[in-house]
């Protein structure tokens, strides 16, 4: 909570300590820790689990794209293909019982990484009663309070102060939880992000700000929209240490998350992580992505794909090709079942139009 005269009265100090007078701030301290030991040491089984989660997201999103093409999914649909290692790597380091997560509209992957049933996510995309929001939210507005997943927000940048609010609640309740707020390189230019940075640092809120830098804010490349394209430096004015992480390497993401979590859980306040990643598809389904070349996309797919990368590493660790093939089949089957469920389950009852507007009746 904020520094006040009451803090001073408690005897810790005679003059109020402002952040500016503390000289222990080092923007790059966490980065140095990461540079020293970049990758999480996963055994074969652990890496297989991460690989499976990434594959599940990839196949889910491909299927979602397909269903969109068939007119079964409407409106806006933002796919996470290419960025899988970010959500999977970070989520794997969180404590599911304590920590909370919030993100923007490109949210399918985060929910899957959280272990939420692909059926209820897909059914939400098709606008069915069995969807996680009863079909009333859609692709951009999905929540699972049970999993401490707080959305799914359609207004660019809104999840940053909202996430700081979740962190505020963790600190207020002294429950040991950390909030993780994901946003993109586009959202990173919103004013409210810096308002949230200021208060989160001032009040030492337990939050990790995660910038998923996928290089494009819709159709605008980062260097056309951002004066400072090294987003991990964006917290320095608020004394928030930054980290720059390869978001295409799930094990580096995991390692970085552990370093950040250790710092935040110790009560030091927020961390800002920039994860460099890439989205293969357009901003949304209706984006032809003419602002970049086909070669650029193909180049990332061929050289930096997070799933192929993990697969090659698994093979190196001695995982058999058959096991990987079987896993692929299992995942495909799971997604195919989710799609069938989403196509065949009924639309919401008409009475649902009027429910959930308010909780209470007046």
């Amino acid at each position: 909570m904020p520094k006040t005269k009451t803090d001073a009265a408690s005897g810790t100090t005679d003059t109020p300590v402002t952040p500016a007078t503390q000289d222990d701030f080092d923007l790059g301290s966490l980065q140095q820790a990461l540079e020293g030991d970049k990758r999480y040491k996963a055994d074969k089984e652990e890496l297989l689990k991460l690989y499976e989660q990434m594959l599940l997201i990839r196949r889910f999103e491909e299927k979602a794209g397909q269903l969109y093409g068939l007119g079964l999914i409407g409106g806006f649909c933002h796919l996470y293909i290419g960025q899988e290692a970010v959500a999977v790597g970070l989520q794997s380091a969180l404590d599911g019982d304590k920590d909370s997560v919030i993100t923007g509209y490109r949210d399918h992957g985060h929910m899957l990484a959280y272990g939420i049933d692909p059926k209820v996510i897909m059914a939400e995309l098709t606008g069915r009663a069995a969807g996680i929001s009863k079909g009333k939210g859609g692709s951009m507005h999905m929540f699972s309070v049970e999993h401490k997943f707080y959305g799914g927000h359609g207004i660019v940048g809104a999840q940053v102060p909202l996430g700081a609010g979740l962190a505020f609640a963790h600190k207020y309740n002294e429950d040991g939880g950390v909030a993780m707020s994901y946003f993109g390189d586009g959202a990173a230019n919103q004013g409210q992000v810096y308002e949230a940075f200021n208060m989160a640092a001032l009040w030492k809120l337990p939050i990790i700000f995660v910038i998923e830098n996928n290089q494009y804010a819709m159709g605008t490349a980062v260097n056309r929209s951002s004066a400072e394209t090294h987003f991990h430096r964006r917290g320095s004015a608020f004394r928030i240490p930054g980290m720059q992480v390869d978001g295409m390497d799930v094990l580096e993401v995991r390692k970085a998350a552990e370093i950040a979590l250790e710092y935040v859980r110790a009560g030091n306040g927020p961390v800002l992580m920039e994860l460099n990643t890439y989205r293969y598809r357009g901003h949304s389904m209706s984006d032809p992505a003419k602002y970049r070349s086909r070669e650029e996309v193909q180049g990332v797919r061929d050289k930096r794909d997070p799933i192929e990368h993990a697969k090659a590493e698994l093979v190196e660790l001695g995982m058999s090709e058959d096991t990987l093939k079987d896993l692929d089949k299992t995942v495909r089957k799971q997604i195919s079942e989710a799609a069938d469920f989403a196509e065949s389950s009924p639309e919401p009852e008409m009475s649902e139009l009027y429910t959930d507007v308010l909780v209470e009746r007046y």
Binding site: G71, G135, V145, H153, L166, F168, Q192, M199, L353, Y362
Partner: protein, 461 residues
């Protein structure tokens, strides 16, 4: 099993498109991500990617074909171990989904939302009786609001207050006076001047299970934060299918103050009252301020609680009760009358009461109805009073266009038409930004004389 490749919908509105170019030919091996074709929509040329691995079988729609309906099978793909050349085209292309959608639209049009809401049974809550012999003390609205917050903070650990100058300064208008001393800096929190940010933090904290009371120094500054009030707080319960609540109170002074000019003088009641998912309360006297603020803090819904700076210092009678909580959504008859109803809320109620006293001297018996809650609006109370007096004047300290007064007029027209003996008449501020000069400001705001004039007009006197 062979896979049907169908003409994809590539935008929310696309129904058909041109198959501009095939980038693969029959017999080609493809994998996930291979670009199969280019398709022109009404807006752009899009690439159509393969999801599955396989061999391109028969191409059924030639490149250059225009007006290909979404869902038409355009090619076949042979899976692993299949012979691409033997795959047959399906008998008839299926077009699904669109059909389902048109059925739904018909269903909705059968009964409008307004009609449906009107027929829903409402709980008949009334103000609890004040027990006989209860001591009545005199209190300012300011103290009543402070006491409401203090009592709720004592009752529920999750309740906290945040805003600019609420703690050490004791409140810009002294509404939070003494709270820091009693509850400490954990629960009474000074924020930087950053309305958008702290409204978002408060909203997030409510989502995380706390009960924030967010003070705006005035609601003029809440314009910076209106995105979180509406998009984050009001819509979440609905968008989440009822699983994520947002029990938060946004409160602070609203409406014109005195000589502070246009940017600091506006009534946002009609703005917030137009948003489904919000509760909007605008009390007038100390008893309602206290009882309704306590109810607002206990509510599971997001509440916008509109106070008035000019009323903060006024004294009213307040029952001394252990737990003075009033029902949200209920209007209150402030003065009974039989000739005409003056509907108002917030500071306008004082104007209406003064007008009613003067009208009584001239033999016109006016009823004064204080709406208290602007959303959900107590339509029944308005219509009941209309049925009794057959005439309605709305006195509102705010702009006339798209006002609460406009809404009252609409309700009376739609549901009380047969009871009307005269047109519903609005008495609002002038339709101009509020000026600074004393004489101009005075001329822009509602006053007793204008209310009296309107009442006489509808009474044909």
């Amino acid at each position: 099993m062979a896979i049907e490749l169908k003409m994809p919908a590539l935008s929310p509105t696309m129904e058909e498109g041109k198959l501009a170019k095939w980038l693969v030919k029959e017999g080609d091996e493809v994998s996930s991500g291979t670009i199969l074709a280019e398709i022109e929509t009404d807006k752009a040329t899009m690439e159509f990617e393969s999801i599955d691995e396989g061999t391109v079988g028969k191409i059924l729609v030639e490149e250059g074909t225009e007006g290909v309906k979404v869902g038409t099978v355009i090619a076949m793909l042979a899976g692993e171990g299949e012979d691409a050349s033997s795959i047959e085209a399906p008998a008839a292309p299926k077009v699904e989904a669109q059909q389902v959608k048109s059925d739904v639209i018909q269903d909705v049009s059968a009964e409008s939302g307004t009609a449906k809401l009107a027929t829903e049974e409402k709980p008949k809550k009334r103000d609890p009786e004040v027990p006989h012999g209860t001591n009545m003390k005199t209190s300012t609205v300011r103290d009543a609001l402070r006491d409401a917050m203090a009592e709720e903070m004592r009752r529920d650990e999750r309740v906290f207050v945040m805003g600019e100058e609420v703690a050490e300064y004791q409140g810009a208008y002294k509404v939070t006076q003494g709270l820091l001393d009693e509850f400490g800096p954990k629960r009474v929190i000074d924020t930087p001047i950053t309305e958008y940010g702290f409204a978002g933090i408060g909203t997030g904290a409510a989502m995380g299970g706390l009960r924030p009371v967010v003070e705006f120094m005035t609601f003029n500054f809440a314009m910076q934060a209106i995105d979180h009030i509406i998009n984050s707080a009001a819509k979440t319960n609905y968008m989440s299918g009822g699983q994520m609540r947002c029990p938060i109170v946004f409160r602070g002074p609203n409406g014109a103050a005195s000589r502070v000019g246009a940017q600091h003088s506006q009534n946002y009641g009609p703005w917030y009252a137009s948003v489904p998912g919000l509760v909007v309360i605008a009390p007038y006297d100390a008893s309602d301020a206290k009882g309704l603020l306590k109810a607002a803090i206990r509510s599971e819904d997001p509440v916008v609680f509109l106070e008035n700076e000019l009323v903060y210092g006024r004294n009213f009678e307040l029952p001394e009760l252990d737990d003075h909580v009033l029902p949200i959504g209920k209007a209150r008859i402030m003065r009974e009358g039989s000739d005409v109803t003056i509907v108002s809320y917030s500071i306008g109620v004082g104007v209406a009461l003064e007008a009613a006293e003067k009208l009584a001297e001239e033999g016109i018996d006016a009823e004064v109805l204080d709406l208290r809650t602007l959303r959900p609006l107590d339509k029944e109370a308005v219509l009941e009073s209309l049925a009794k007096t057959n005439r309605i004047v709305v006195a509102e300290e705010g702009f006339p266009v798209c006002s609460i007064a406009s809404e009252i007029a609409s309700i009376c027209m739609e549901e009380g038409f047969d009871d009307l003996d005269a047109p519903v008449t609005r008495v609002c501020n002038e339709d101009v930004p509020l000026p600074y000069a004393a004489n101009l400001e005075h001329a822009a705001l509602i006053d007793t004389d204008r209310v009296i004039e309107a009442v006489k007009k509808v009474c044909y006197r």
